[in-house]
């Protein structure tokens, strides 16, 4: 029998911080209310399951209560075999309804996919435990699969760009000024607030006038997406790729007001993993201080 490579290990404090922050992200990313006109264009799970019952305010309120209870249990590591599937069901069904209005958003998939990864990893871990897997491996695997899912989202986005444009995406990106203008006006017509309009139009005009510089920056962004699996090599790579992708989102947010805030949070929680680096720096500081002391 061929043994698989071991999965990375995470300390108790890392796992705890990740659980708390991820539960908060799931809560924020799940719609608090459904302002929709039925389910006119069923998408994803709404295609295989009739979700009209969730349009009833009472059913939706119950779903939210179940989600809240499941997330609290998840943070406390209680009844994980129940809390993860319940949270997954609540999150995926509610967001699938929002995405079944004939307008597909791409802000929430990453959260639902990480939740799916954690649920699958947990049950796979339970199955592995029967063949002698260590107890801690159960939660380590959910984190490891979460990291892989986040990387997969960027890898897929990169592959799609290459496939759709036959590899010419960086060259097409020289027209990004047109898209920035569109998103600037869309933002303006959302609220009629002129706060960002002038700045965004200035960025759009700059992009239109400096097409080849934009193509160069776009090529860097595409390489970053396609190279995202490097984040799975070790913690240093994970933090470096995570920070680079957050930087990529921040610059897109400045130019186009496309924050993909949940992507940024998940990168920060699972790839950058600040608590680990803070603890490492603290331990080094203490060790050095002890070495210097007489």
């Amino acid at each position: 029998m061929i043994a698989s490579e071991p999965i990375p290990r995470f300390a108790f404090y890392e796992r705890l911080v990740m659980r708390v922050l991820f539960a908060w992200i799931v809560w924020r990313a799940t719609p608090a209310a459904l302002v929709v006109n039925g389910i006119p264009a069923p998408n994803g799970i709404a295609r295989v399951m009739d979700l009209h019952f969730l349009l009833e305010p009472h059913s939706f309120a119950l779903l939210q209560m179940l989600l809240a209870a499941a997330l609290i249990a998840y943070v406390l590591r209680l009844f994980v075999f129940l809390s993860l599937p319940i949270a997954l069901f609540a999150n995926v069904t509610a967001t699938a309804i929002v995405n079944s209005q004939g307008a597909i958003q791409h802000a929430f998939q990453i959260v639902s996919l990480v939740l799916l990864a954690q649920t699958t990893a947990h049950f796979y871990g339970l199955w592995c435990r029967r063949s002698g897997d260590a107890g801690e491996a159960l939660e380590d695997r959910t984190i490891w699969w979460s990291q892989q899912t986040i990387v997969a989202v960027y890898l897929v986005a990169g592959i799609t760009k290459v496939l759709v444009t036959k590899g010419l995406w960086p060259f097409q990106a020289r027209w990004i000024g047109v898209s920035i203008t569109k998103s600037a006006y869309q933002m303006f017509y959302d609220t009629l607030s002129q706060a960002d309009l002038r700045q965004q139009l200035a960025v759009a005009n700059f992009a239109a006038a400096h097409g080849w510089l934009i193509a160069l920056l776009a090529a860097f962004g595409l390489l970053l997406e396609l190279g995202s699996p490097l984040a799975l090599i070790n913690r240093t790579w994970a933090a470096s790729i995570g920070l680079a992708l957050i930087g990529f989102h921040v610059s897109l947010d400045y130019a186009m007001r496309l924050s993909f805030i949940y992507n940024q949070w998940l990168l920060l929680i699972f790839l950058v993993n600040l608590p680990y680096w803070m603890m490492t720096a603290f331990r080094r500081f203490v060790r050095r201080k002890r070495a210097v002391a007489p």
Binding site: V35, N99, I104, S112, V164, Q172, V178, K182, D190, N205
Partner: protein
């Protein structure tokens, strides 16, 4: 060759990144099936695009969030309706684009009517409202806009 495929199989059996491969394949194959997606946003660019906005009976712009949705969602709903109308008007020669645009804009207004149940002020705002389309084009390093009305709420 056989050696290469053997080592690929060996790698697949031992790699700890199997979930990455599985999710990547599922997202690319299932495409837009929530929670999966092939993330096509901004996967291609063109030197022209458009956005939609609404004006009231007096011609003043309406903040779309007052109707319970964003301008981006408005455009996506319009795009989907436009695509299905283009299939319907396949035989109607060169006029099919205009017909599809107008029918899609009308469908957007009908969708907004349905939303009025959740947003009480929407019904009043929509009376006499028009769906406007602004074309955005890039020509010789500069961006230009051109607007036209596509449909009017009765």
């Amino acid at each position: 060759m056989k050696l290469q495929s053997n080592s690929a199989v060996q790698w697949l059996r031992t790699t700890r990144c199997k979930w990455l491969l599985l999710v990547t394949v599922l997202c690319l194959v299932l495409r837009e099936n929530y929670p999966f997606s092939h993330f096509p946003m901004y996967s291609s660019f063109s030197n022209e695009t458009y956005f939609l906005y609404l004006t009231d009976a007096a011609g003043q712009p309406i903040a779309t969030t007052r109707l319970g949705l964003s301008s981006s969602t408005l455009k996506k709903i319009f795009d989907r309706q436009r695509r299905s109308n283009l299939r319907k008007y396949r035989t109607a020669d060169s006029a099919r684009f205009r017909l599809a645009d107008q029918a899609a804009a009308q469908s957007v207004l009908e969708y907004l009517d349905g939303l009025a149940a959740h947003v009480p002020s929407a019904g009043k705002l929509l009376q006499g409202a028009r769906v406007q389309r602004a074309m955005v084009r890039e020509k010789s390093g500069a961006v230009a806009l051109e607007t036209e009305a596509l449909a009017k709420h009765p």
